[in-house]
């Protein structure tokens, strides 16, 4: 089930919330667990078993690691937990990719398995791994209550598209969540914002990219190509961060505090900064559980470079089972390393505008690699961006005119300008500004909600981008 659907907004959500708030204390977790199972099973009836297996397996591993603490057995159990998780992920997500690659290299004809990718598997396996690792390291207390642990793994708000919540970040709240109306109010507002980002911005701007993606790249002008990739950049940002907003909002309504996942990535002035602002929960997971254990920057420069390459190859392939995703990760690794070795210092000294342009160009070229799966298509598209087929044509002017307002709104919304203005009003000492803020906050959220419903009802176009993750 996706959040931006009539089914979720007008069936699942009201019923779930009524049950949740009516349920007494400890029963709330049971409501979350059962609700999440229904939510998940709606799209993946068979793979629910897989998720429950992963839950029980890591619950038991956690308990055993705790009792054998300090012994070799604990280490063995940790390894066993990781292997099980990685095997699940590897089998369901990467088996066909591996077979295909072997077939291409060796000329063998091993048949593909063609299993459907279980939704959210990349997210929940990463969450449960963080749990067993943290328990092993003593950074998280073991969870003895199976239901509380199951809530951590299966909780529907962040189940399918993140943020990736580390167990220790919500451990306390799993057990005890004080009800605070301000928290609920914040959550409701955050949810509506996320819904609007996804439905009004991502879906509509995505239509432009969809049109251009279908074209023959050998014949599109530079303007069309740039419009297309800018549209994709905005689409994936609003789609993904909108989904994170909705997750964080739903969590807040129930009293959870999920970590933030995006922080205006497109205003970064370097790639290093971009990855501190983009999909934060994923990059911090890799930093904490891969980069630092590999030695991070503590074992000399050559080793650090190797570590960066490993982490970014993994980050790339986490996004999808395909070589283009590996390439996409390495593309960023190259710039991260170069910024460390060569121009990182320079970037921080020259006027900001150079940094913005540099970072956006690298990121946009990155999106071309990410979105177009064959080397040939990437080459043709980049060629078009460089003006190989002329700078502009009628088609580009048509598409540009048609989407101008939407793109401007999208670009503005991708900067902190609006948020800053809102904050200044909220924190203003002027009574009238405050009244105006409190009224307009309500008007705007009601309007966004109504508009989002209208676009969902009309949804000839309401795709879901995360099936590959």
């Amino acid at each position: 089930m996706v959040f931006s659907s009539i089914l979720f907004l007008f069936r699942f959500l009201p019923i779930f919330m009524v049950c949740y708030f009516l349920a007494p204390g400890r029963a709330k977790n049971l409501v979350i667990f059962l609700g999440s199972l229904i939510f998940y099973a709606w799209g993946e009836p068979v793979y629910v078993g897989l998720m429950l297996f992963s839950t029980v397996s890591d619950y038991i591993h956690g308990r055993l690691i705790d009792t054998k603490r300090g012994t070799l057995a604990a280490k063995g159990l940790l390894v066993s937990s990781l292997i099980i998780n990685l095997l699940l992920l590897g089998f369901f997500k990467y088996a066909d990719f591996l077979i295909q690659s072997i077939n291409v290299v060796t000329g063998a004809e091993i048949p593909l398995l063609e299993l459907g990718l279980p939704i959210g598997i990349s997210f929940y396996t990463f969450q449960t791994m963080s749990y067993t690792i943290d328990v092993y390291r003593g950074e998280a207390k073991v969870q003895k209550n199976l239901l509380d642990f199951a809530v951590f793994v299966t909780m529907f708000p962040q189940l399918i598209a993140g943020p990736i919540v580390k167990y220790r970040q919500i451990a306390e709240r799993l057990h005890d969540r004080p009800f605070k109306i301000q928290g609920v109010g914040y959550g409701v507002g955050r949810f509506v914002t996320g819904l609007a980002k996804k439905v009004l911005l991502a879906n509509n701007i995505g239509l432009l990219w969809n049109t251009i993606k279908e074209m023959d790249y050998g014949g599109i002008s530079a303007l069309t190509a740039w419009l297309g990739i800018v549209a994709f950049a905005l689409q994936i940002y609003f789609d993904f961060s909108g989904y994170s907003d909705m997750a964080i909002g739903l969590g807040a309504i129930m009293g959870f505090e999920f970590p933030e996942n995006f922080n205006y990535p497109y205003i970064s002035r370097s790639i290093t900064e971009f990855w501190r602002r983009w999909h934060i929960s994923l990059s911090s997971w890799f930093r904490e559980y891969v980069y630092i254990p590999l030695g991070g920057n503590r074992k000399g420069l050559p080793r650090q470079i190797v570590n960066i390459l490993i982490v970014w190859m993994l980050t790339g392939i986490w996004h999808g089972a395909g070589w283009n995703f590996v390439l996409w990760g390495l593309w960023f690794a190259v710039f991260l390393i170069a910024e460390k070795l060569f121009w990182g210092r320079v970037l921080s000294k020259i006027p900001g505008v150079f940094g913005y342009v540099y970072c956006l160009v690298v990121v946009l070229v990155g999106w071309v690699i990410f979105e177009l799966e064959s080397v040939g298509a990437v080459g043709a598209y980049l060629g078009a961006m460089l003006g190989g087929n002329g700078l502009w044509d009628r088609q580009a002017l048509y598409l540009g005119r048609e989407n101008l307002v939407l793109l401007i709104i999208g670009m503005l919304a991708a900067t902190p300008l609006v948020t800053k203005a809102v904050r200044r009003m909220r924190e203003s000492k002027e009574r009238y500004v405050k009244v105006f803020y409190e009224l307009s906050e309500k008007v705007v959220s009601v309007m966004l909600l109504l508009l989002a419903i209208a676009y969902v009802v009309d949804a000839s176009y309401n795709p879901f981008l995360y099936f590959r993750f």
């Binding site: 659907s5 009539i6 089914l7 907004l9 007008f10 069936r11 959500l13 009201p14 709606w42 799209g43 993946e44 009836p45 068979v46 109306i181 301000q182 609920v184 109010g185 914040y186 409701v188 507002g189 509506v192 509509n204 279908e214 074209m215 009628r394 088609q395 002017l397 048509y398 005119r401 048609e402 101008l404 307002v405 939407l406 709104i409 203003s428 000492k429 009574r431 405050k434 009244v435 409190e438 906050e441 309500k442 959220s445 009601v446 909600l449 109504l450 508009l451 419903i453 209208a454 676009y455 969902v456 009802v457 009309d458 949804a459 000839s460």
Partner: protein
Amino acid sequence: MQNESNQGKHNHNRGKYIPERINAALNIGLICVILMVLTVADLWKGDRLFSEAENRVLASRPELRWTSVLDGSFMEDYETYVTDQFVGRDQWISVKTAADIALQKKEINGIYLGKDEYLIERHSPEDYPEELVEQRLAQLKEFVERWDAKVMLVPTADNVLTDKLPAFAEGFDQRALLDRVAGCVGEAHMIDVYSDLLKRRDEEIYYRTDHHWTSRGAYYGYLAWADAMGEAPNTANSMDNMFMDTMETVSEDFYGTLHSKLNLKVKPDTIEYFPHTEDLSIRIVYDMEQEEASFYEEDYLKTKNQYGFFMDDNHPFIEIDTGVSNGRTLFVVKDSYANCMIPLLASHYEKVYVVDLRYMNGRLFPFMESYEPESGMDVLVLYNCVHFLEEFRYW
């Protein structure tokens, strides 16, 4: 209540107008009320079978079965059902269209908002892959060679009313398609109506809210046909060059298929027809069972699908005895564009047969042979360019 207002005053000293807790409750309340009211209203209202505005059957509640739950098809169907049946669906679509217009969009749901309140359907070459075009051409070639048929492919409005399209809009170039068709079946088999329509594009030759051409447009099509066939147009009765003046209006509140996709407030269309085509004493048999004495069916004017007025909407097979005794037979293979032109053709023949390939299950050639008289018959392929690509397929 008293307490809260005290707190309000208290908070005001710290620069707060409404206390934070009340403000949060208000925010929550507003959103919850909207979601809950709509949910209850949606559960309360009954299901509709059919959407008049969209002119299509809406999804109905799927049956709950273990097998359909396990393979996920129940959930998929249920979701379509809930979305299709959502309370106030038509109004929501109007809201969405209004928002798109506010964003300065000139193309919504594949429809151009043209000048002079024209809604024009967009067709893009990507929708018609080369493979499909080749298949259609191969079948057409075989058809034309077997029956020595004439081919008339009518361009759609986006190719003709180019002056009404939004700035820089470019459609699917049907002139190029027609050149290909001509190259394939031979120029001599083609009836060109593209240039005639282009010359007449300042007249109302297409509906503003529907994807069809008007009776006026069809009349120019008919003249092009007569010219190509060497026929004198409208010889049957008092029909002379002033024939166009004999048109009569049957409806002034027609909202067509393009309007359905937007639910936008525009002027309704007018439907006209040629009453003199009824001067013949005709007998029509639809699908070998339903007998009528008119090309026109007024009942449709009371429904959403007013274009169905012509030839009783779409039928798989139509036989017409025109009452003219000249021994000539015409066999038409056609789409819905033909429906308003067939009455004009009828006066030139004694028998007219009409087939709509979308509904044809058996093999076409033996079927046609069974209706061919000893003396042979004229055969006409009459489609608009995109319907031809979408529908021209036979066994």
